[in-house]
C-alpha cells in the first residue's frame, strides 16, 4: 500500500482542523483525500482520519461505511458506477448492464482480473436526459450503447 497521505496534506488538514470551530466537518474531505491517494480507504485510513480529527475511530468508521462513493474495500484502478435507476432502466439500462458485465467478465461488486476496473451499480447520476449513463472515476458518460461502451473502455484502458 502506498502512503496514506503525504506529510504536506496531513499538515494542511491539521492546520484546518485547528482553524475551524467544528473539525469533525472535515471528515468527508479527509476520507476523500485518502481515497484519492490510495484508491480506497483501508482501516489505517480510518484510523488516520480519526487521529487528525480527534475522533473515536468508530465515529469515522460509521461515516465511512455510510456513503457509497467511499470504498472500504480495495477496488480496481478505475471504478465504474453504472446507473440502475428508473430513467436509465427505461432506456435500455439492463441491456447495457449485461453488456458491461460480459465485456469486463465480472459481476457487480467485482474487479477485473487485471485490476483495471471495478463494476458497481449506482443510483441516479443526474444524467437522466442522456440515459443510460455511467460514471467512471468522476466523469459521467451518457447515451450509452454497446459500441460506445467498448470505445470508452478501450480508451480508459490506455490511460490506466
Amino acid at each position: 500500500m502506498s502512503q496514506l497521505l503525504d506529510n504536506e496534506t496531513i499538515a494542511a488538514f491539521k492546520a484546518k482542523t485547528a482553524a475551524v470551530a467544528h473539525p469533525r466537518e472535515l471528515v468527508i474531505d479527509l476520507l476523500r483525500a485518502i481515497q484519492e491517494q490510495v484508491g480506497w480507504v483501508p482501516d489505517e485510513g480510518v484510523e488516520l482520519a480519526a487521529e487528525i480529527l480527534g475522533l473515536p475511530v468508530i465515529e469515522v468508521e460509521e461515516v465511512a461505511t455510510f456513503y457509497d462513493k467511499i470504498y472500504r474495500q480495495p477496488v480496481g484502478r478505475q471504478v465504474i458506477h453504472l446507473c440502475d435507476s428508473i430513467c436509465c432502466w427505461s432506456r435500455g439500462g439492463e441491456e447495457v448492464a449485461r453488456h458491461l458485465r460480459q465485456k469486463l467478465g465480472v459481476g457487480f461488486g467485482e474487479t477485473t482480473a487485471d485490476g483495471a476496473f471495478t463494476l458497481l451499480p449506482t443510483c441516479c447520476l443526474g444524467a437522466c436526459g442522456e440515459a443510460p449513463a455511467m460514471m467512471i472515476g468522476r466523469e459521467t458518460y451518457g447515451e450509452l450503447t454497446e459500441a460506445r461502451i467498448d470505445e470508452i473502455l478501450e480508451q480508459k484502458r490506455k490511460t490506466i
Binding site: E25, D84, S90, C123, G126
Partner: protein, 424 residues
C-alpha cells in the same frame, strides 16, 4: 415551439459556464445590490413571500414563509444551507443550472443570508456532480475576489462567508436533517422533527435549508419584483418559472425553463417531441421517483403544486419521466422500489424492513408467481409504511406503489392471472 421568458437559463445560449463578467453583463448581482442598498432584511423577506415562490427541492414549502419563521433577529451563530444533493431519480435540473450559470446561486444565497441576517453558509453538493462542483468553485473564487462574498459586501457592512461541501453519495442526504448531520461530519441519519432546523439546525444553531433552484430564483424576484415573478406562471395560482427535466420514452429529453403550471401535454408533445418510436403514452412520473404516476387522462393537468395534488400526485422536483405503452408498470415500480430500499439509511423499521418486503412482493408478482393475496399485502404494506416512517424517504417510496395500486390494478391482477408479465 412556444418561446417563454428565461430567467434561470437566460445565459444558457452562451454555451459555456457563465463567468462573473458575463453574469454581470446580463444584470447579475443587481438584485443583491438592490437588496443591500434599498431594502431592509424584513423587506427582502416580505418581497420573497409576496412573490409566492415555493421550494423547488420537492416539498414545495413557501420560501418566504420559511424565511419569515426564521429567528433573524436572534444574535449569534446561524446558518444558511443550500441543498445541492440532487439524487432523486429523474431529477437533474440543479446540475444543469449550476453547470450553466452558478453565480445565480451565490447571489441568491447572499440575498437570503442578508434577509435572515445569517453570517455563514454552506453549499452541500453531491459526489457525482464533479463538473457542477468545478463551476461552483470557480464562481466562488470570482465572487470572493470581487467583494461579493466575505466582509463588507458591496460596501454595505454586511458579511457572509460561504463554504462548499462535497458529499460522497447517498440519496438520504437530500433529507434536510440528514444533510445537516452529513455536513457536521456525522453519520447522515435524519433527525427527529421538531425541533425544526430553524430552531436547532446545523451545529445546533438556527438554520435555513433551501434548494439550489429556489435560491437561484431569488435574484430575479429582487430585480423584477414580486408581482412580475408571480405573473410568469401559466396559471393564476402559480408563481414563477420552473426548470423541468425530461427523461424516459420521449423523442427529446432536454432540461428546460417553462412557466410553472404549463400542461403535461405541452411538455410531452411539444418540448419532448412526443413519445418515442411512434408509440403511445402510457404513464409518467411528473416530478421524480417519489411522485405517483399519471396516465393519459391527466395530460391536460397543469404542472404545478396544487393541480397535481388534486389528481393524486405531486410536482416534486419536476423531473418528468415518461413511459410508453410497452412498459410494464409492475417492473417500473419494482425498479423504483429497489432504489428506495437500497438508499434507506436503515434507521427506522418501516423503511429498513418494509421497503425490501415491498420489493419482494413486486418481484414475485412480476415473475408471475404472485397471488391476489400478494396484491392485498402490497396495499397493506403501503398502509403500514405511509406516515409511519421516521422521515419522508419511505413515504416517497410509497408514491409509485400508490400510483400502481390506484391506476394499474388491472395490470397487477393480469400478472397474477396469467402467471407471467403480460407486457415484457
Amino acid at each position: 415551439m412556444t418561446a417563454y421568458p428565461q430567467l434561470l437559463f437566460k445565459n444558457r445560449h452562451l454555451g459555456a459556464t457563465v463567468s462573473l463578467d458575463d453574469y454581470r453583463k446580463s444584470g447579475g448581482y443587481e438584485g443583491l445590490a438592490k437588496a443591500l442598498r434599498e431594502l431592509s432584511p424584513a423587506e427582502v423577506r416580505e418581497t420573497v413571500k409576496a412573490s409566492g415562490l415555493r421550494g423547488r427541492g420537492g416539498a414545495g414549502f413557501p420560501t418566504g414563509t420559511k424565511w419569515t419563521f426564521f429567528p433573524s433577529d436572534q444574535p449569534g451563530e446561524k446558518y444558511l444551507v443550500c441543498n445541492g444533493d440532487e439524487m432523486e431519480p429523474g431529477t437533474y435540473k440543479d446540475r444543469v443550472l449550476l453547470e450553466t450559470d452558478p453565480h445565480q446561486l451565490i447571489e441568491g444565497m447572499v440575498i437570503a443570508a442578508y434577509a435572515m441576517q445569517i453570517p455563514v453558509g454552506y453549499i452541500f453538493i453531491r459526489y457525482a456532480y464533479a463538473r457542477a462542483t468545478a463551476a461552483l468553485e470557480r464562481a466562488l473564487a470570482e465572487a470572493k475576489a470581487a467583494g461579493l462574498l466575505g466582509a463588507n459586501i458591496l460596501d454595505s457592512g454586511f458579511a457572509f462567508e460561504l463554504h462548499l461541501h462535497g458529499s460522497a453519495g447517498r440519496y438520504i442526504c437530500g433529507e434536510e436533517t440528514a444533510l445537516l448531520n452529513g455536513l457536521e461530519g456525522k453519520r447522515p441519519n435524519p433527525r427527529s422533527k421538531p425541533p425544526f432546523p430553524a430552531v436547532r439546525g446545523l451545529f445546533g444553531k438556527p438554520t435555513t435549508v433551501n434548494n439550489v433552484e429556489t435560491l437561484a430564483s431569488v435574484p430575479h424576484i429582487l430585480t423584477g419584483g414580486a408581482d412580475w415573478f408571480k405573473g410568469l406562471a401559466a396559471t393564476e395560482e402559480g408563481s414563477g418559472t420552473k426548470l423541468f427535466g425530461l427523461s424516459g420514452h420521449l423523442k427529446k429529453t432536454p432540461c428546460l425553463e417553462l412557466p410553472i403550471g404549463v400542461s403535461l401535454r405541452e411538455v410531452v408533445e411539444e418540448h419532448g417531441g412526443g413519445v418515442w418510436k411512434g408509440r403511445r403514452f402510457k404513464a409518467c412520473l411528473p416530478g421524480g421517483a417519489s411522485t405517483p404516476y399519471l396516465r393519459a387522462e391527466h395530460l391536460d393537468t397543469s404542472l404545478d403544486f396544487g393541480p397535481l395534488e388534486q389528481v393524486g400526485s405531486r410536482l416534486g422536483t419536476a423531473g418528468v419521466t415518461v413511459f410508453d405503452e410497452t412498459t410494464c408498470m409492475v417492473a417500473a415500480t419494482l425498479n423504483l422500489s429497489r432504489f428506495f430500499a437500497r438508499e434507506s439509511c436503515g434507521w427506522c423499521t418501516p423503511c429498513r424492513d418494509g421497503l425490501p418486503y415491498v420489493c419482494w412482493l413486486l418481484e414475485k408478482i412480476e415473475a408471475g408467481q404472485g397471488t391476489l393475496d400478494d396484491i392485498d399485502n402490497l396495499r397493506g404494506q403501503k398502509h403500514n409504511i405511509d406516515g409511519r416512517s421516521f422521515c419522508a424517504l419511505a413515504m416517497g417510496a410509497m408514491g409509485p406503489v400508490d400510483g400502481l395500486l390506484r391506476l394499474f390494478e388491472e395490470e397487477l391482477i393480469d400478472h397474477v392471472k396469467r402467471g407471467k408479465c403480460p407486457v415484457r
